[in-house]
């Protein structure tokens, strides 16, 4: 197990190098001059600009710039935001906390609803319950989450006035108030996830229900509840788990649209803002951070697999 984790982490080093090169190249390819931006835009004296460039290392050849940047990154120094002067590492960590709480709550909610719903639909295959579940998930799937978010804001925020529509309070500061800010974004994200996961769970369960060992479990005289939860669920969950991994990594990397709709200070919003503001240190740091999230989430999912399939040995 430890060996497996270690090996996977070693294998992710090339991934990071490639990602780093791409991020570096991409950011250099963006139009605009960082030094000019740093000086506040309009500069008449070219000497001042040159001096700024030299100070920022922009007069060096690109490979040298890259290595210098890489060295800083490796020593844990992600630089300071051009805009606010904040340390990028600290900034990322704060913003990630917001995104992570919204996304993980949404995923948890989605799993709690989708797994039983998928199992139930498969158990009542081609029955009314099954059709209702399938219909419900199609409806949810066809609504984009930002639109659902807007509608939720209109209903619960504007019309009913039950929940705040703008701003954010961290749950670590004030649990009760913090929760009120989380409810709507979590719901908006969870609804789409429920739709996808229910369908995965239903399809997986349908396949497993046809297997001999399920008939055998029934022939043993087990109750249907036990057959579904102890025999169908563990065998049918793997595809859903894959989906959870893909969605989780994507959302942690920034549910930019949702965060914008609900004005949440998350990592997605940070990324978008830093692009508009040409805040290169933040942009580079955020992209690298996102790559790390992808690698770690997938590793976590692969480890989780071994709990659902005894044949997967982590060696």
């Amino acid at each position: 197990m430890m060996g497996f984790v270690l090996r996977r982490l070693l294998m992710s080093i090339p991934t990071f190098v490639i990602v780093a090169i791409m991020i570096f190249a991409l950011v250099r390819a963006l139009p605009g001059d960082a030094a000019l931006l740093m000086l506040g835009g309009n500069i008449d004296d070219p000497a001042v600009l040159e001096q700024m460039r030299a100070q920022m290392g922009l007069d060096q050849p690109l490979p040298v710039q890259f290595l210098a940047w890489l060295r800083e990154m490796l020593s844990g120094n992600l630089g300071q935001s051009i805009l606010t002067g904040q340390d990028v590492g600290v900034l990322l960590w704060q913003r990630f906390g917001v995104t992570a709480s919204v996304v993980s709550l949404a995923m948890l909610t989605a799993l709690i609803v989708a797994v039983p719903a998928g199992l139930l639909a498969a158990h009542r295959h081609n029955g009314r319950t099954d059709y209702a579940v399938v219909f419900g998930s199609i409806v949810l799937l066809s609504m984009p989450s930002f639109w659902v978010g807007l509608m939720l804001l209109v209903l619960f925020g504007a019309i009913l006035g039950w929940l705040p529509t703008i701003g954010f309070v961290s749950i670590t500061e004030d649990l009760g108030r913090g929760m009120t800010y989380l409810i709507l974004p979590v719901t908006a994200l969870a609804l789409t996830e429920i739709a996808v996961l229910t369908r995965m769970m239903r399809a997986g369960s349908l396949e497993v229900i046809g297997k001999d060992y399920i008939t055998h479990a029934r022939a043993k005289g087990l109750t249907e509840t036990r057959v579904m939860w102890r025999h169908v669920f563990p065998n049918a969950f793997a595809p859903t788990l894959t989906m959870v991994g893909i969605m989780l990594a994507g959302l942690l990397a920034g549910a930019a649209v949702t965060e914008t709709v609900f004005t949440l200070p998350g990592i997605g919003k940070l990324l978008v803002d830093s692009i508009y503001a040409r805040d290169y240190p933040v942009l580079q740091g955020a992209l690298l951070f996102i790559a790390a999230i992808y690698v770690l989430t997938n590793l976590a999912i692969d480890i989780t697999y071994s709990f659902f399939d005894p044949k997967v040995r982590l060696t």
Partner: protein
């Protein structure tokens, strides 16, 4: 007051249908306490459906449209509550399925799978349940049952899983055991063992058994009565000996005829240089751990095998699963990597064949696989499947290819009108015919047939064997016939090679081998597959002598259990080779 003579199961006028299609039209069956009864029929005859109906577990869409199933005073077709039925399942009626590889939950430890039904049906504590489970595993003759409880199904072979299944089902001491083709998926040797164990355990616990099978010869030894089913109708029921001796129904007679397989008709080849020579073939399968840094796990699948096949000759390669017989076939077709040895085909060393020569070779050596359900691409029409066998023949026009493939389909008994169908529209036997046509369309010199009839019903087996014989006469190909069943290879093969754990145990021409099997392993194989034979008053079960203790003064046979012992193949009589222990 129930007495011992009251039937435990009484089925009267049972009709089962799927949607509008009737599958069982009127079955009447009575089973007494402690009795073993065989229910025999081809696939699709409705015998499995009958077994499932007794449990009230018909597959999706099936329902009982008429009749009654009475089990020990409970009406299964109209239970008072669904709960009543569930309580009977497992506790009073146990069921064993055909596929041991798929009937245990891959995700649950053996101990838990055995215990859960006990917990559901009894008030026993975990300690007592564990003791019962260990006791049952001992009854099915598994070693070290304590350790076994913590393991997962995939760590066991098919035969062991089926024994675990028997232990788990019999643990609740059901009054009726339904065994649906419990050993069809297993090798002959293992099959015998598992059936023996099952019959013993059932007898020890006083359970009645309904033994469902397509193979009359296999079940006849265990059952006191036989019921024969054809297309949803029970056509004949009677005492086993009577049914064998005086079958009353026409279908029973046909079933018996095919179980007998008929007189062997060996296909001998031409004299002279052999078409195929294999010398000292070794195949290893290597699994490297952590890119080879932590060493490798090496499995020696084939450990130095030599054999030859003459032009137009059928040679049988026999052994249980894991003996390396399929690997040899695959190595000859260059589908398995060989570590050492020389394979010469028609004068050329296969190692020298590259590029064009290799493609030409692939037209001359063709394969037929065991499972016709997975060896044909489900998305290709059968005409195209056969035509594909000609794809490297660049001289042929499209029309010519079409003509040849249709002619070949016709030769295997598939009318040209069916060429546009997809494999799923064909029966198992028809699919295997298509697979044979695909192999023969390029007029190969050698066909490697890997268990070509093992997945088929007995009646179909006889047909396919006859077809192979007839096609051989027409096209004159040689064949390496791989099978676990000695009686199948006896039908067509002129010579036999008996394999065990990657080594040749015995090699001789078929008649000699059957008349005087020398190696104990060959004798065990022979005893394992029962056949029917003509007796003085009609058919009876063929008596195969149990393996005898070696006569004093006989040489020390090589035993594959101790693979480290020196091995040599000695010529016991002209052309008759036996594996002995000791240096050359």
């Amino acid at each position: 007051m129930t007495t011992r003579d009251d039937p435990i199961l009484n089925i009267a006028g049972l009709k089962v249908s799927f949607g509008a299609a009737p599958v069982i039209h009127g079955a009447d069956l009575t089973l007494h306490r402690g009795e073993i009864m065989a229910l025999v029929g081809e696939s699709g005859s409705g015998k499995s459906v009958l077994g499932r109906a007794i449990l009230g577990l018909l597959p999706g869409g099936g329902r009982v449209s008429a009749g009654q199933i009475d089990f020990d005073g409970h009406d299964i077709t109209a239970p008072d509550t669904p709960e009543e039925l569930r309580r009977l399942r497992g506790r009073r009626i146990g069921m064993i399925f055909q596929e041991p590889l798929t009937s245990l939950n891959p995700n649950m430890r053996i101990g838990e799978q055995m215990a859960e039904a006990m917990r559901q049906h009894t008030d026993l504590g975990p300690r007592q349940i564990r003791d019962r489970a260990i006791d049952m595993l001992r009854q099915v003759r598994l070693k070290d049952p304590e350790a076994l409880l913590n393991r997962f199904p995939h760590e066991f072979s098919g035969g062991m899983r089926q024994r675990i299944m028997i232990a788990s089902v019999m643990m609740l001491k059901p009054a009726l055991l339904i065994a649906d083709e419990p050993t069809t998926a297993l090798d002959a040797v293992v099959q015998r063992e598992v059936l023996d164990i099952m019959a013993d355990v059932a007898r020890a616990n006083g359970a009645a058994v309904l033994l469902i099978s397509h193979d009359l010869a296999v079940v006849a030894a265990y059952a006191s009565r036989v019921a024969v089913m054809e297309k949803g109708v029970l056509v004949e029921t009677g005492a086993t000996a009577d049914v064998l001796r005086r079958p009353a129904h026409d279908y029973t007679r046909r079933l018996l005829a095919s179980a007998r397989l008929g007189q062997p008709a060996p296909v001998t080849g031409a004299a002279g240089t052999p078409l195929l020579t294999v010398e000292g073939l070794r195949v290893d399968f290597t699994e490297s751990r952590l890119f080879g840094l932590l060493g490798r796990n090496v499995t020696h699948a084939v450990r130095g095998v030599s054999l030859d096949v003459r032009r137009g000759e059928f040679v049988g390669l026999v052994g249980e699963s894991g003996s390396g017989k399929s690997t040899i076939g695959r190595a000859i077709a260059r589908l398995a990597p060989k570590v050492a040895g020389r394979i010469t085909f028609d004068g050329t060393d296969l190692d020298d064949c590259r590029g064009r020569a290799e493609r030409r070779l692939r037209q001359r050596i063709r394969l037929v696989f065991q499972d016709p359900y997975s060896s044909l691409n489900p998305r290709m029409r059968i005409g195209r499947i056969v035509r594909e066998g000609l794809r490297f023949d660049r001289d042929l026009s499209a029309a010519e290819r079409r003509r040849r493939s249709l002619a070949m389909l016709d030769a295997v008994g598939i009318p040209a009108a069916m060429a546009d169908r997809f494999p799923h529209a064909l029966s198992g036997g028809q699919r295997q015919r298509v697979a044979i046509a695909r192999a023969l369309v390029s007029r190969p010199d050698l066909v490697i047939a890997d268990e070509p009839v093992s997945a088929l019903d007995v009646t179909i087996q006889a047909q396919i064997l006859a077809l192979l014989k007839q096609l051989q006469e027409e096209f004159g190909f040689a064949c390496l016939f791989i099978s676990h069943d000695l009686h199948i290879v006896e039908q067509l093969c002129a010579r036999l090679v008996v394999l065990h754990r990657g080594r040749v145990m015995e090699q001789a021409d078929t008649a000699t081998l059957f008349a005087r099997p020398r190696h104990p392993y060959t004798q065990r194989l022979m005893a394992a597959s029962p056949r029917l034979e003509d007796g003085p008053e009609g058919l009876r079960l063929a008596k195969t002598a149990p393996p005898q203790a070696p006569e004093p003064g006989s040489p020390a046979f090589f035993d594959a259990q101790g693979t480290a012992a020196p091995y040599r193949l000695a010529e016991a009589a002209p052309g008759h080779f036996v594996a002995l222990r000791g240096a050359v």
